[in-house]
Structures are given as C-alpha cells and as structure tokens.
Symmetry: C2
Subunit: 423 residues, 2 copies
C-alpha cells in the first residue's frame, strides 16, 4: 500500500474564504489516503518513510474541469474572433486532423506530456468525434499517472461535413462501442459523455445520449451559455426548451443523480441558475477563455453565494494556457473587471476563493479531493519558489500568492496523484 509522510510548508483551503498554512508540516498518507496535516509526526506513524521538502510549498493538486486536448496545438493562436466564427475558422479544421493516427499520436503525445508537467492532477478532457484517437488519448493520459475523464465528442449537425458524424444512430453506435471498450479498461482514465453543445447535436442524438447515460451511469460534460450568438442560436434550434440548460435537461443530460459539468455559464439567467442548482451541475469557470473569445465574465462569487457548484478550468485552447495557476490569477483579474465595468453588486473573487475553486471547487467532482483532510484522496504539488526573487523572507501565504501569479511549470518539483508520485 501507499504509506508515507511528506514534510514541507503545507497550504490548503479550510473554506472558500480561508487558507491554512503549516510551516514544517507533515502530511501523513497511509493505505493510500491522507491522514491529515500535523506539526510533527503523529504517534503510530513513526515508521513511515519520510520525504522532507524543507522550505518548499506543498499544496493540493489542481483539478481542471474543462479543456480540449485536440486544441492544445492551437493555444495562443487565432485569438481574434468570437466563439462561433472561431470554431469554424480555427478549431474544426484542427480537430479534423485527429482522424489521422500519426497526427493524433503527435498532437496528443505533446498534450499528455504537457499536462503531466502542469499543475493539474485531475482533468475533464474533450477529445474529438474520432473514437480511435479518443482511445489513444486515454491510453496516453493513463500512462501519465493523472486522473482524467475523457470524452469522445458527439456532433451530428451544424458543423462541416469533414467533422460531422453521419447520423444520430452512427454517432450513438460509435459512442456506445467506445464506452464499452474503455469504461473498464483503465485504472485512472474513464469515459464521459460529451455532446459538444446544443448547436452540434440533433434532438435524436441527445435523446440517445440520455439513454446511454442511464444505461452506463457515466457522467456528462458539455458547454452552456458561453456567448450571446450561441445562446440566440440555441433559442432558435430548441424552441421547446425554456432556456439553454433545459435543452440538455429535457433529454436527461443535466445531472441530477450523476455528475455533470457545464463549461462557462457566463450569461445564465435566474431560471437556468436555479435549474443548475437543483441538478447539482458543476459550472466550469474558464476565465482566460472568456477573455480571449470576448464572451464575457461569469459572476462567480454570486454563484458561490447561491450555493451553485463551481470549479475552475483552463478551457485550452480558447484559454491559451494549460496552467491552472494562471487560471487562478485570471479568475481574480476578470472578476475585478466585471465588478468595475459591469456590475459593482458582485464582488471580485479573493485569492482564497480562486484557490479554492481550483482545488476543492473542482476537486469535489472527483470525490474527496482538493485538500489535505483525514480520509481524503491525496493529490499534491511541491513548489520550489526560490527563483522568485524577493529581498526579504516572506510568510507562507505570500509565497503561495507569488507562486500562483509568477510561477510556472518549472516551479513544480514533485507531483503526487492519488498517493502516487509522478515526478
């Protein structure tokens, strides 16, 4: 079993408002689970092997609730359009390339290695419509040691012929076969149903996906209320739906008794929010994406007050960066501009809130994940911040804030996922 102790300057969230720090803290892991943070090794655990990281920071791993593996190659490119034009101009042609096994190996190989080195320990990942490439992506991610849900995307309308599944039946057949092949195959990598978004999915397809969900009990991920043009289009396409989220819900694709993540929810109205709350849907807040595509800014602190489930996401490649550390600072920054430019009634996110979103907020999708608590799963990053020059010693929380704003993958010197050390 996985039994060990690591020592260092430990920081995690007690609540969305409050961080805890323990200098020279000990985290005990036994039988693969966290036993808590201690000021010294507690009795009964003296025999466990100890890794002492000294002054280095030890924080929970980051959970990325939404990103697109095939778009990784496009990050930092083509940031000059809104969502729908951007999909047609840049994204769909790129996603079509994943049909080629050689290209898929190169593209997904680069993605998996970058995700392994990033602050992310667990992620929800969109692939493409291609089952073979999606399975390859799952194999590559399984090999990294990360814990991921991966979705073969469904698209049967309103997209280019070259990236369209030929019928609802063909899409469902391919999806079910892929589910059967992958749902038991990996220990860390699991399939998730992934209708791209309402505009790309016919009612017949959504109906069938709802049935697959109920048959196989898999979670669901999709997009919701990201962009004004998209929302208007959904209103046209789904006149029977009361609002955008209802267009998923009427097919049983909006959570409830299973986990469901909807990316963005930038422009969700009150009825939609209430439905998301009732269904326990996770909102994947994607701040850099929402800037880059000029989508807007979700009122995240209000969502937290309403009791909605909210986590953080990079949304690569509408978000340029795979780093959840950057997503934390972006979440704070966009919330300040929303407060200043649009609506002073919704306060900006604080640093502890944004850190909580990236760890506990997102982590709860995966279970008891996102903090160093008794009986919880153990994901951790060890950060060496010694290259972030400062003329004086700093307290732990200041060091963390600097590591988030100024650090990058190079600052991560060790990474643990579910009590296994990846590097």
């Amino acid at each position: 079993m996985k039994d060990f102790i690591i020592m260092g300057c430990v920081i995690d969230s007690l609540s969305p408002q409050k961080l805890r720090s323990v200098e020279k803290g000990c985290i005990v892991v036994s039988q693969g689970l966290c036993r808590g943070v201690f000021r010294e090794i507690p009795s009964g655990f003296e025999a466990l092997p100890v890794t002492d990281f000294g002054e280095k920071l030890i924080i929970p791993g980051m959970c990325d609730l939404h990103l697109h593996a095939p778009q990784f190659a496009l990050r930092g490119l083509g940031m000059d359009m809104e969502l729908l034009d951007w999909l047609n101009t840049y994204i769909f042609p790129e996603e079509a390339k994943l049909q080629d096994p050689d290209y898929a190996k190169r593209s997904y190989g680069g993605f998996a290695e970058a995700l392994r080195r990033s602050p992310t320990t667990r992620a929800l990942v969109f692939a493409t419509i291609h089952p073979q490439a999606t399975t390859l992506l799952m194999e590559l991610l399984e090999a990294t040691g990360l814990i991921c849900f991966v979705g073969k995307v469904n698209m049967d309308r309103n997209c280019p012929e070259y990236l369209r599944e030929q019928s609802p039946e063909a899409s469902l057949r391919a999806t079910e076969q892929w589910l059967l092949e992958t749902r038991e195959r990996f220990s860390r990598t699991k399939p998730i149903l992934t209708p791209r978004f309402i505009p790309s999915c016919s009612d017949a397809l959504l109906q069938g996906l709802g049935e697959l969900q109920r048959k196989y009990h898999v979670p669901v991920q999709s997009h919701l209320s990201e962009n004004y043009g998209e929302i208007a289009w959904v209103r046209e396409l789904s006149p029977a739906a009361a609002f955008y989220a209802d267009a998923y819900d009427r097919f049983g694709l909006l959570g409830g008794d299973y986990n469901c993540v909807m990316a963005h929810c930038v422009h969700s109205g009150e009825e939609e929010l209430e439905r998301l709350r009732q269904r326990g849907v996770y909102i994947a807040h994607s701040p850099e994406s929402n800037m880059n595509l000029a989508s807007g800014v979700a009122p995240v602190s209000r969502y937290l007050d309403l009791g909605l489930r909210v986590g953080l996401a990079t949304d690569v490649a509408a978000g340029s960066h795979l780093s959840m550390l950057r997503a934390i600072s972006h979440a704070i920054q966009v919330s300040k501009l929303r407060w200043r430019l649009l609506d002073p009634s919704v306060p900006p996110l604080s640093f502890p809130q944004a850190f909580w979103l990236a760890t506990l907020g997102s982590g709860s999708f995966f279970g008891r994940v996102g903090a160093f608590r008794e009986g919880w799963e153990f994901d951790a990053l060890v950060l060496d911040d010694s290259n972030l020059f400062h003329p004086q010693p700093l307290d732990p929380l200041s060091r963390l804030e600097r590591a988030v704003y100024l650090g990058d993958d190079g600052n991560i010197v060790a990474k643990y996922v579910n009590a296994e050390r990846l590097f």
Copy 2:
C-alpha cells in the same frame, strides 16, 4: 563601430495594423544603426561578421513606458485593494525600505538583473524619494546595457511621514542636486522628473519641478486618471484645474516641447484627451495593473484613432509581471472585456496593434526605435520558440503570436540594445 549582420526569421511592424515577416532575413547594422531587413546580404556589406540564428525569431526590443523598480519585490502580492488603499497598505511601507542602502542594493540588484533578462530593451522607471538609492538604481541599470530613464520620485504631502519629503524646498533641492549628479554621468541611463501624482505633490513643489524642467530640459513622467477615487481626490485638491491633466499642465509639467509620459489615462474625459493630444503626451497603457487594481480599461484603439501617442507598460508591481510579452496579451484581453462589458463602440485591440504598442508605440519616446528601419537605432530580441510544442510547422506570424502568449524570458536567447549584444 558596431557593424554586423544577424540572420533569422525577422518580424516587425509596418504600421499598427500590419506586421512584416521575412524568413531567412538579414538585418544589417552598420556604424551602430540599422540599415534595414534584406532577403540576402546587400552589396557593400559582404565583409561584415554574420550571426545566423537560423529558424529563430528576431523581433524589435520591447519598450516599457512605466514601471516602479522599488515595487519589484511586491509583484504578485497584495492584489486585493484599489489604488489608494493599496499604496498606503503595501506600497509606501515597501518604498520606505529603499532608504536603507543594503536593502536598496538587494532589491534593486534583483530588479536590474530581472529587467536585463526580460524582453525589455528600454524603460521608464520610477524609483523612490531617496536620491542615494535612485542613483544606485541608475548605476545598476547602466551596468545592464539597457537604456533607461529613471526618476527620483517627488512626494511632499498626503503620504506617510516616513516617506514624505519635508518641504517643497527640500524636495526640489534634493531633486536638482540629483539631476546635476546624474544627467551627464551615464551613457545609457538618464534622469527624468517624477512627481508621483497630484495627491502627493503640493502646488509649490509642482511649480518648482516645472522650473527644473525648463532649466534642465529633462522629460517628465507621472500618473493620470487611473482610478475613480484618485480622480475625485484630485478634483478636491486642485479646484483651479479644469481636469486632472490640467493640474500638471498649469505648472508646465505636461509635455509640449519635451517628452512626457502619463501612466494609465483609464478615465480621461474628452477635454483631457484633447489636451494630451495637443501636448503630444505619451499615454502608458498598463493593462495588467488596471486589472489587478480594478481600475478599469482605457479605450486604447479609440486613443489611436484620435491620434494620441500610446505605448505599453507593465507598471510593476500593480502589474505582476515584468514581461512586455505578457503586457501585449493582457492589452488584447482587457480590450476584449471592455468591448463586451462596457462599450461595443470601441473595438478590441488586434494582435498587430498590441505588438506595435510595445515596440513602435512605446519606442518613439526614445527616438527612432521599435522597428528594423533604415537609419533607426537597433534593439532586438532573438526568440527560440522550439519548446512551444506544435505538431506541425507554423508560419512566422503564428509563431510570433504563440511566443507572445506562451513564451517567457527563457525563450529569449539573445538581446541587442542600441546595436550592442547584451547576451
């Protein structure tokens, strides 16, 4: 003399709208000046030594129009307040430490080395009220090879006793002595008059600084219309001024026949903008700072249309990052949120516009700087983007966009300032 040729994938701006790229291009530098970009070595220059950077990108150096050296230690910290509270809580106590020569050596030493390694080739730098530490900063910057204007800050009111000059006369005396000591002393580093902002400077002090400007013909830098609380306070403090900029102008501190930079101009009204245009004042647009302090977003593309001079700035430490590459992407991102959240009549900045702001827009403050043109000064960065994974070859402009969004100091493998290679 400085005579050489460098070869690589050359990119610079033809206009704010248009980038030029020349793969396997040659930049000829002779007698210390750029002679242009060529597809092969032009006749007459065959004997010059050639450095061939192969596939690497060669772009103009970045000019940072506004940053605070003493705040470098605080970057990424204390991002939870607006301007005036932030100054009192975090910044003034930190700036006071620069009085201690040992602390100044550590803090400014770290700053100078980081600036040397950054994409910045020229900068306008605020120091503190302390003449000795300011001169030390100038010595350290001179040694880097960068070209900088450095300002001893003036503050004689509305600031803590520990960071206040004791009278207008004392402030002016110290400033004039510092000017006399430093204006001829360095080849690359020059003094610039630096009243912090109207709230910190009495009328008598501003009057005297105007006289020093006319006596020594030095440029001027300060802050303008950054934050609503600040603007309201200036209205109280300077009831005779028609608007904030007029509070500088009535003392001859707003440019006209000399170079003047005003940081921010987020909330400038029409009269103020017209005055800035008349006086040829440079606006230092500081997008990350304006996010972090929730100040707002300047309508930069409108300023360009109005014929205002605008450049780009990091504004460390209200901006967390010293990298002008990040400032470029931040400028684009905040302009998109301004367009979406506040005012769809002002279009977002394009990538070529934001790149132009960081090179030519800021560079013109320093003369013929910011592009590879015949007879212009030669500042360049050589970027190795080979660590920015992509599964396929990319065209030069796509490579540049990725290097800006995804690169960091580690991608800079050579840096030239005024035809001298720094590393």
